[in-house]
Symmetry: C2
Subunit: 654 residues, 2 copies
């Protein structure tokens, strides 16, 4: 018996060595810097460069071309059949894009032709640069609303339409610059810092904001508030409705009619995949039919101001995208606000684009280089801003149509862009009588996709605090501003991480029957406490200045209360084992509180043992000489600690 005891002790001494003498862990600061560096300089890029050095020149040129223009790669096995699919998909896309992009441009308070411009140049450039095979580029509702709500504060779009457009183009340029910078510095992970919950709340609020804005078009109201918040818009609508002269019911009837039509075709498209073409053609059909109706209704008036149905009126057409390089001015009083706008829109636009790209990449089962996508999006917006285009990104609705239409390569995007170009050159005259109410209906039909109630409910079910971030972002956008909404959401998300990481929790640990494993007795009611020992686990992942004294107090209180209970029975325990496996790290205050705990326990005749320290934690405990202070009682596992403490107690009793 005694020899086995000795053998056990020898083995345990061996194990103690393993715990107490680990190799030097990597310095946390170096680790952090390493993570950042690893993000900036990707391992694969370095490997590629060293691989390319040993290649002949013509191969090098081909590899470089393929790297720069991945679309070339898809022409390797290209054939007529594939082109047919791409061509049909492109035409379908164009029929969706023309009315949609005109609508979104009016949402951004630009003239409708800027929407068409933005459906030509950016998709073409992206088609050349991007590695993706299905993403379709275009302006999106969120960006349009963000731009108008932020730039409207700097210049009035109604009275100084040229100045406003200049600022929008400048902001677009800045968005592109930020996106390229994100990509080059490999900040791809930045889009991850918007938590799901924040995005869900943000988009829902944006959808509500867009919906409110469309009331103007839907009712055909002339005078409308410039503000975007709920109360001002509701006031403006109700005051306009009470003055019959300011609007005409025709607008509302037309808008509602075509909204119902588009929503019905969307419903059909979801029910029956074969009918998806109907839902993508519905906007164009609505525009054509409603324009004919508007022509019939309005033709009896001579002046546009007297029209019963509000229409778009003259659209500048007949030419390519005008050159707008000279309209970009970054100097002046607006530098600060413009940079803020650029950064906000860049973050949101990139997040939306990347999330669309990710969705379809995982549907097709290929990988996505987030950083490369960011550079492509950025270059596209920079060039776009030189050609009268405003911010564009991956559009969810168009990409879905493209995917459903069976497109094979980015050629479908090129077909779409060229079709839009043709219609801009020859058909803008026909758009004169397009009712504004129908454009509002097209926008309204798109925003339902932004409100994700199912996801919101899922978040509520899984995590109440995340839901708080969601609600915070929602109300932040609705009652303050888009940036404020993002800030609220991100702040709640990170505060949650801090609070949870430092919350001072301890749990009593028991042993599973018929096993050497141990577990929290609240989580595992089958686990039973070992008599004569008090095993506690620290639940927080940090023992630091912010929670060290609270954790110590809780442990002390627990020890005291357990002792009192035990006094009624037979024996009090002689050992407290602290399972510190949850601790990621410990700072000087944490070590000090453990030392104080040890002092206090020692004065009560109780010995402290520590089990399962992590690498950094044991390293720091050793640096602070804590291991000697508790007599080397640091163990590999709770089981070992319990065993040795029981032996120790028996030996002491003998």
């Amino acid at each position: 018996m005694s020899s086995t005891l000795e053998e056990t002790l020898d083995l345990e001494k061996n194990k103690a060595e393993w715990v107490l003498n680990p190799p030097e862990p990597p310095c946390m600061l170096h680790q952090l810097l390493g993570t950042i560096k690893g993000n900036l300089l990707h391992g694969r890029t370095r490997k590629k460069i060293s691989y390319l050095r040993n290649q002949p020149l013509h191969k090098l040129v081909i590899t470089m071309l393929l790297g720069l223009f991945p679309i070339l790669g898809s022409f390797r096995n290209y054939n007529v059949q594939k082109f047919k699919y791409d061509f049909m998909a492109g035409l379908t896309l164009a029929s969706l894009s023309i009315p949609q992009s005109m609508g979104y441009a009016t949402l951004a308070q630009l003239s409708p032709e800027y929407g068409l411009y933005s459906s030509i140049v950016p998709p073409l450039i992206y088609a050349l640069l991007a590695s993706s095979k299905e993403i379709v580029i275009g302006s999106i509702t969120v960006d349009s609303l963000l731009l108008s709500s932020m730039i409207r504060k700097l210049k009035d779009p109604v009275h100084d339409s040229n100045g406003y457009t200049q600022l929008v183009l400048t902001a677009t340029f800045l968005v592109g610059v930020f996106q390229v910078a994100f990509g080059l510095f490999r900040f791809g992970f930045l889009v991850d810092y918007l938590s799901d919950a924040t995005i869900v709340g943000f988009l829902a609020a944006v959808a509500v904001g867009i919906g409110l804005q469309q009331l103007k078009g839907l009712f055909g109201i002339h005078k409308f508030t410039n503000k975007a918040d709920l109360i001002s818009v509701m006031k403006a609508v109700s005051s306009s409705l009470s003055h019959q002269s300011e609007w005409h019911p025709y607008n509302f009837v037309l808008g509602l009619l075509f909204l119902s039509f588009i929503l019905f075709t969307q419903y059909l498209g979801r029910r029956n995949k074969k009918l998806f073409w109907l839902s993508s053609a519905a906007p164009l059909i609505s525009v054509i039919v409603s324009s004919l109706i508007a022509y019939r209704v309005n033709v009896r008036h001579l002046k546009m101001e007297d029209y019963d149905v509000e229409v778009l009126g003259p659209i500048k057409g007949g030419s390519l995208n005008p050159w707008s390089f000279k309209q970009i001015h970054i100097d002046g009083d607006f530098v600060g606000p413009l940079i803020k706008t650029g950064l906000t829109v860049a973050v949101i636009s990139t997040t939306m684009g990347i999330s669309v790209a990710r969705t379809f990449a995982s549907l097709r089962g290929h990988n996505l280089d987030t950083n490369k996508e960011m550079v492509s999006l950025g270059l596209m917006n920079i060039v776009g801003s030189f050609c009268s285009c405003y911010v564009a990104t991956g559009s969810l609705s168009r990409t879905a149509v493209n995917y459903n239409a069976g497109s094979e390569t980015m050629v479908s995007s090129i077909v779409m862009a060229l079709t839009v170009l043709m219609s801009l050159k020859f058909l803008t005259g026909l758009l004169y009588f397009t009712p504004k109410a129908v454009l509002a209906a097209i926008i309204l039909s798109a925003i339902s996709g932004l409100i994700d109630l199912k996801k919101a409910y899922y978040i509520l079910k899984v995590d109440k605090i995340d839901f708080l971030a969601c609600v915070g972002a929602f109300f932040g956008v609705l009652f303050a501003s888009a940036e404020m909404g993002l800030v609220v959401g991100v702040t709640i998300s990170f505060t949650k991480i801090i609070l949870m990481s430092i919350q001072p929790g301890i749990a009593i640990v028991g042993k599973f029957p018929g096993s050497d494993e141990f577990g929290d007795i609240e989580q595992y009611p089958v686990a039973v406490e070992i008599p004569g020992l008090l095993i506690l686990s620290i639940k927080s992942s940090w023992l630091c200045f912010a929670n060290a004294s609270l954790v110590r107090e809780r442990i002390e209180r627990r020890v005291t209360s357990e002792e009192v209970e035990d006094n009624k029975g037979e024996s009090t325990f002689k050992f407290v084992i602290l399972d510190i496996s949850s601790l990621m790290s410990i700072d000087t205050a944490g070590i000090a509180s453990l030392e104080e705990l040890n002092k206090k326990l020692t004065s009560q005749g109780v010995k402290l043992a520590v089990a399962k320290p992590r690498w950094h934690v044991i390293h720091k405990l050793r640096l602070a000489n804590f291991v000697e202070k508790i007599g080397g009682r640091v163990f590999l596992s709770v089981g070992e600690a319990a065993e040795l403490c029981i032996i120790g107690a028996k030996m002491a009793a003998v």
Copy 2:
């Protein structure tokens, strides 16, 4: 063999139940609110109230009196012997307090008598209210510098001395109000939010600031800059020194002489505990001796302006603390800055006072109710501000002297206060010739205690990022302002917690020889990988929006690289076991990334298993139906998971 296999499987099924069906964990939001509520309403208080309800009236009165004035409790066994100790300690304290508090008052840019006032009322009130037995109250260097540096910006202390004093008294009142509020709302834990590292850096910078300010007194310079930063002070000193007329070397010689004397007695006191009285009497001795010298040197001049040695001049004395209730004005333009000053000084002052109280409470081995101490400090400052006292708190140097002098109760503080009162009434005339250089020397001798190089080195050794917070706080104070220094320190400390909690790390896990335990093979080089299995552990404590996709990518990369290596050999692994014991929590993005990982692994023919989920994590995984998605492969421990996976692989092979 087959029957044992079945038995094992049955047992394992049982264990799986334990993991998969834990009781509902407490909602995290409720847990957080519970922690806050627990802090606000202390359990002991509630117990006490219900206990008191059943007591007779006279007992109730006694308990209440004892609760309100804990000093009464110490009179139970009070006797002549104890009073003798207290009396001697009180006299020693007074001899230290008189020169020190005059010096600190000049540091706060008040006339010296305000320092004396602050050594009378606050200690008396604190003696009545506090539960501590040894803390001695007085003004301290840090508070004095903070007040002068923040209020100097509002009113010039030289040209509008009365207005400046009014603002200081108002700020003192606000400090008291904040401290009472902290205590009543049980925000005692708030002082923990200043990490050790921040405090060390902050105090060192304050010491440097104070040191620079004292150059004025030490050289006896008339014209001096009002700014506190390094560059302006050095400029002012050098320009003064080059104009001989502006200062007289006598000042410098006197100052340096007595600084050496005080430092030498401090050194003696540390070497030999019996000589501590010398170090506490040294400042008073210096004042008396230097005043005599200054009298001899200056007496040949008639006007004070011509004196060779700069002296204090007339001090208002002969009366009690003047009533200053009417000088407190919170309305006006200064509300915002005053509240900011009050809050900053309250946080710092409380932190310093509580840390002194904690140090001596642990030396004497009794507990400290932080919240109650805060209320006492606050009440003391509120009443103090009505009696011409400025901010006071627990003074480290005086408390140490009191402790060494063998004081038994708070009576020593009362003796000190009364002695100061007497000297204020009868001896202020004698202080006319006290050289300013000697007061500067007394302040300089105190600041060395604020610079804790040993602790700074310890922090550097234990944690580089904490050291960054320390350095940040230091330079923040030195080159910007005290508040900025605190903000920098706190921000770095919390950013560290976030970054470390979400840093995307994974480790390979191996088995210890001759044991069922598993561990990180980098931390434990003895651990060996089990062939046919890849066991990975997630190192971060969160799998959430901010790191989920990075962690997933790292796991996928690791799986791919391991597979390639294995292909050279004989068999690739069929199972990946993920040890998620480090995860405190998981959010929807984290769950989504695990689902994606599972999909990817399944497509490669590899099965994913999860081991050691914590309570909240398994709960969320079940809510999200993740457990079904990985075929129920969730295990109690890595060992179980490994065992079952090996059995599974064998069965699949058969």
